[in-house]
Symmetry: C2
């Protein structure tokens, strides 16, 4: 194994450092966050930090850094209080990834990619058309992380749209069936084709497999 | 598509609700967190919320609920200030998942599964032997989320061990090559066998694929 301590990591060249530290956590969720400014300009951007915070009520969080391209997403959420979360899926991976390019605020990524806006129930923020899961989110609160100034945004699920064939009898959404992607690092996408479902685990008396 | 609003979700039976809300974010990172109590009892438990918070310094976070089995992990971290993060990999998925069973505090999951403790550099917390990535973490700070009382723990990478053949030239860790798993919902594991690496994206003038 190769071993690197804190100092070794801090001293790495920029690209090596961000590649390494972005891949140590294992696969990350691959989502597109859709927003619209008060002036009516839409935005859609890749986020790999959407995380489950609770089921009752249904709360998700994601991390952003105010100084990067994803500032548009934050500004729009602060202006309107709403956004959408849509998973990245196999047939649109390249265009989804392209939303990470740094376009000026007045340019919508929907105009620069094959991704299309979709509106449902008069929800102000755009969904990504054809996404097998589409979630309408309502901003709740945010935390500024002292250690590095990043912001954790927490939001509640207001409405959830799921492709019917992905929903198992007990309401697990089968991501594999939906050809939903996961992110490795910053720019690598994997679409699992198999999965193994295990059951709820209870203590056992002995050490057996 | 099936559509559920906030009230529909809140009113779902418990198992359906947790299955659904735990799978809407897409694939989640699949990690084992290793800790040791001051009394010397080790603990290892599955976490699907380990998230990248920053590369410089290298900061990771994870979410926990004080009222569940994972309380041991939290208590040990608060006692010692340290823990380890180790990805779940193909040959150990079943035993890794079994660590979610609710054992009493005085029982180590290492004694109930084929997972083995490994110690390096006198780091107090146990690594998971044979894991292709092993990370020594130092507790930094925590945030109690007002919306639901969950706790976000932030910690810094102190030392990182990576299997040499997984490290690409530019330091992306190739998770696919490491047969590292991702989690779908609460109990389903996927091990991607292919990935697509894209490059850094710059704005383009036209809408082309």
């Amino acid at each position: 194994m190769i071993s690197l301590d804190k100092k070794d990591i801090d001293n790495l060249a920029y690209v090596k450092k961000i590649n390494l530290v972005n891949s140590v956590t294992g696969y990350k969720s691959a989502n597109l966050i859709g927003t619209k400014s008060k002036a009516g300009i839409t935005n859609v951007a890749v986020f790999s930090s959407v995380t489950h915070f609770g089921s009752s009520p249904a709360i998700l969080g994601f991390v952003l850094r105010p100084t990067t391209v994803i500032r548009d997403t934050y500004d729009n959420i602060k202006e309107t209080g709403v956004f959408t979360i849509n998973p990245i899926f196999k047939s649109k991976i390249k265009d989804a990834h392209h939303t990470s390019a740094k376009y000026p605020k007045e340019v919508s990524e929907f105009d620069k990619t094959v991704l299309e806006e979709e509106y449902k129930d008069n929800w102000e923020a755009p969904f990504v058309k054809e996404a097998p899961i589409q979630i309408a989110m309502n901003y709740l609160e945010e935390y500024e992380i002292k250690a590095n100034g990043t912001i954790l945004v927490l939001a509640e699920i207001v409405k959830l749209h799921v492709r019917e064939d992905l929903l198992e009898e007990d309401y697990l959404i089968n991501l594999t069936k939906g050809e939903i992607a996961a992110i490795n690092g910053l720019d690598t996408y994997a679409v699992p084709t198999n999965n193994l479902r295990l059951n709820y685990q209870r203590p056992k008396e002995n050490k057996n497999k």
